[in-house]
Amino acid sequence: MLSILIENMGLLCSRNKHYNEEDNEENAQTAEIERRIEQETKAEKHIQKLLLLGAGESGKSTIFKQIKLLFQTGFDESELKSYISVIHANVYQTIKVLYDGSKELAQNDRETFEISSENKEIGEKLSTIGSRLDYPRLTKELAQDIETLWKDAAIQETCARGNELQVPDCAHYFMENLQRLADPDYVPTKEDVLHARVRTTGVVEIQFSPVGENKRSGEVYRLFDVGGQRNERRKWIHLFEGVTAVIFCAALSEYDQTLFEDESKNRMMETKELFEWVLKQPCFEKTSFMLFLNKFDIFENKVLNAPLNACEWFKDYQPVSTGKQEIEHAYEYVKKKFEELYFQSTAPDRVDRVFKIYKTTALDQKLVKKTFKLVDETLRRRNLFEAGLL
């Protein structure tokens, strides 16, 4: 009886001791964790947070891909190959949108939009493929069919009215390269990957350091890419804290297009309202704003044929001349509109935040590189200023 008691007591003590040991261990662990957290937050402080914001299809993800190409390892072959299915899907989706669109337009204007009878069969076939879930790999025969249909006058007419349909910007590029895309050993080029249209959902991030040839810049950036459609925007708010700079993308060419998610709304008007909303966010009191007026390449080709005042915001635009001068004039007008909007939506206590406008074409690697160097420089200058060194 006694022995049992002693044994129990012993057990108790040893158990107690054991507990204490565990406690100590735990304490050590928590201390270690805390130390690490501190370290990481210290390290995090050096990392500058950049957000890519903007409405849908404004080129955020293309800029994101460019950064990957420019300042990271780029895409290896397996990564390039993973884009095959995306590119092929783009081809099928494009031809389906065009074929279905021409059928719809033909209801009002049979002469222009009626597809020739021999191509109709091809069209129906491709349209069913386009609504399937798993697209087949693009074969030479399918590519031939698509090319035939693409060359149909009605489809070309439809494509000219592409702003009324949801035709992706990459349509022309991929249609002109169909034979190459259909090659059995096809590996997408960098350019193909940049053109590939993927609607982003959720959030993606990369970390990079724009080390130039002279390795002077030591800044580390963390760049976040987000989806731009309306439903995606409610997720942005989770990223709004501690942002160094917002890169706001606005597609210059979208002034006569409607939203993917709401075809009753002009894209430029949406961008205007969105920019206003972002500017007024309380989190962005000290955040720098880099406005990328993107897709200048498309704008250049479009603005001479499609009047800028198709958009309500640009109603009072008057073209002054022709050719290159006119393009420049139209661009300056849009730029001025955004500038005005910025100053209207910026409260007096925020006037010292940085605001820069850049004319970009996200597909142009050299231009993006140059632009990013400027952004980097501006942000570093800003940091020095904040630290009281300038």
Partner: protein, 452 residues
């Protein structure tokens, strides 16, 4: 006796006023208590406004009777004692008419959704004022013609059309309810609606008789006192019964789940009794996952889907997977059960499709419009196009990153341990453990969303 019949303030009058006051207090407490005691979150939009409007209408109806039928004795008459104000405007368009219009708009919506099988062509906030128009027109007409005498009575040639309008609206309500009679509802909407109608039809019968007597036999004073007593008491009962039987759960929230069911369900699928919904059976075979298989095939597997969903949520893109899951559940409901299909379809539309929905998905304008203007909510490929778009979206955005994520590594580990456990467990009969869907979990990013 004779004087109080004319001037008001008989003992029976005070009793009637007291009864109506008690009824109204009971009604109010029935509305407020569930929110105050059980801490049910306040409903949004029309599920919030329709009960509020009904209470307002009930109050108007009772108050207008008290004021226009001279229950109370006032020393002086003020301008606001006007018969036209109380007896015409407050009683009809803002009282009885409004009360029944609310109910008719509820029945109308049910009728459209379950009989016509499409979303109602007009929203209730447009429909309600629309069917209130005849009441407003009638009140305006009376206001212009001024048939009322100093005791707020207007004689038989006016009373008949007025009472016809009252009964017409009851008839419309009965008509709509009759049209949805054959449908077997999941959440007892119809039974409640019928009980409400039965009580109100009965009380309106008595009410109409009392009204007639009160209007016509102005000279018989005991009849005056008795009839107005009956009138007010019946109106109080009507208001209370009409509201508390079913309209504390007005139509729109009747279709949503949870509030009225004693059991609260995690998902609509469970509420509708779809087999295997929201649960992970421990005996489910360990999946063999081949990343080369198309994503839509892989997602059919529940365990894989859970893992993929967690990953998608970590990328703030969870809504697409949730949508996939719910459409998948909808697919399990047999085609010969249109009512359950409609419930589920309605739920999916409210949750994922309409612009600004809590978990709105990233789909094209065309797909969204096609769903919202469908002619048949029960059709099997209602969400087909939207789902295709979203699977494409998940494929291009999430799939590649998932294979290299921690979530997939963990999933593979669990799959191996699962298959070990499975061998040991086959002897025991395990009861399935319900698993919380993370749809409404704490870490759901959409719960902290900000309305923009």
């Amino acid at each position: 006796m004779a004087s109080c019949a004319v001037e008001g303030g008989c003992a029976s009058d005070y009793l009637a006023v007291a009864i109506s006051a008690v009824c109204f207090i009971l009604l109010l407490s029935r509305v407020i208590l569930p929110f105050a005691v059980l801490k049910i979150p306040l409903p949004k939009r029309s599920s919030f406004w329709i009960p509020v409007i009904q209470i307002y209408a009930s109050l108007n109806l009772l108050l207008s009777l008290v004021m226009s039928l001279t229950f109370l004795k006032f020393k002086k008459t003020y301008w606001w004692h006007s018969c036209y104000f109380w007896g015409v405007w407050i009683e009809a368009p803002l009282g009885f008419g409004l009360l029944l219009s609310c109910r008719i708009s509820q029945a109308f919506q049910l009728y459209y959704i379950f009989v016509k099988r499409c979303l109602p062509p007009i929203r209730s906030y447009i429909f309600l004022p629309l069917i209130l128009m005849p009441w407003i027109a009638g009140a305006a007409f009376i206001q212009i013609k001024r048939p009322l005498n100093n005791r707020c009575h207007m004689g038989i040639q006016w009373t008949i059309p007025v009472m016809s309008l009252h009964t017409l609206y009851v008839a419309i309500l009965v008509g709509f309810t009759g049209a949805i009679w054959h449908i077997e509802f999941r959440f007892d909407e119809l039974r409640d609606l019928w009980r409400g109608i039965l009580v109100s039809a009965f009380s309106i019968g008595v009410w109409v008789v009392a009204y007639f007597l009160n209007e016509i036999h102005e000279d018989i004073s005991y009849l005056q006192v008795a009839s107005r007593f009956v009138l007010l008491v019946m109106a109080s009962i009507l208001v209370l019964a009409f509201f508390s039987i079913s309209s504390s759960q007005p139509l729109l929230s009747q279709i949503s789940l949870r509030k009225r069911e004693p059991l609260s369900f995690e998902t609509m699928g469970q509420a509708l009794g779809i087999p295997n919904s929201g649960m992970l059976l421990p005996r489910e075979p360990a999946p063999v996952i081949d990343p080369d298989e198309p994503l839509d095939k892989l997602l059919m597997n529940k365990i894989f889907r859970e893992s993929f969903m967690k990953f998608a949520e970590s990328c703030l893109a969870g809504e697409s997977v949730h949508f996939y899951e719910e459409v998948h559940e909808l697919g399990k409901i047999p085609a010969d059960d249109p009512v359950r299909r409609i419930y589920m379809a309605r739920h999916i539309i409210d949750q994922y499709i309409i612009a600004g929905a809590a978990m709105e998905v990233n789909i094209s304008h065309r797909s969204r419009q096609a769903i919202l203007t469908t002619s048949n909510l029960a059709q099997p490929n209602l969400f087909h196009d939207a789902l295709n778009e979203l699977i494409q979206l998940m494929k291009t955005n999430l799939a590649k990153d998932f294979w290299s994520s921690m979530y997939f590594t963990k999933f593979k580990e669990e799959a191996t341990t699962r298959s070990h456990e499975l061998k040991q467990m086959t002897r025991w009969n395990h009861s399935p453990t319900p698993r919380l869907s993370s749809a409404h979990g704490v870490d759901d990013p959409f719960h902290q969303e900000q309305e923009s």
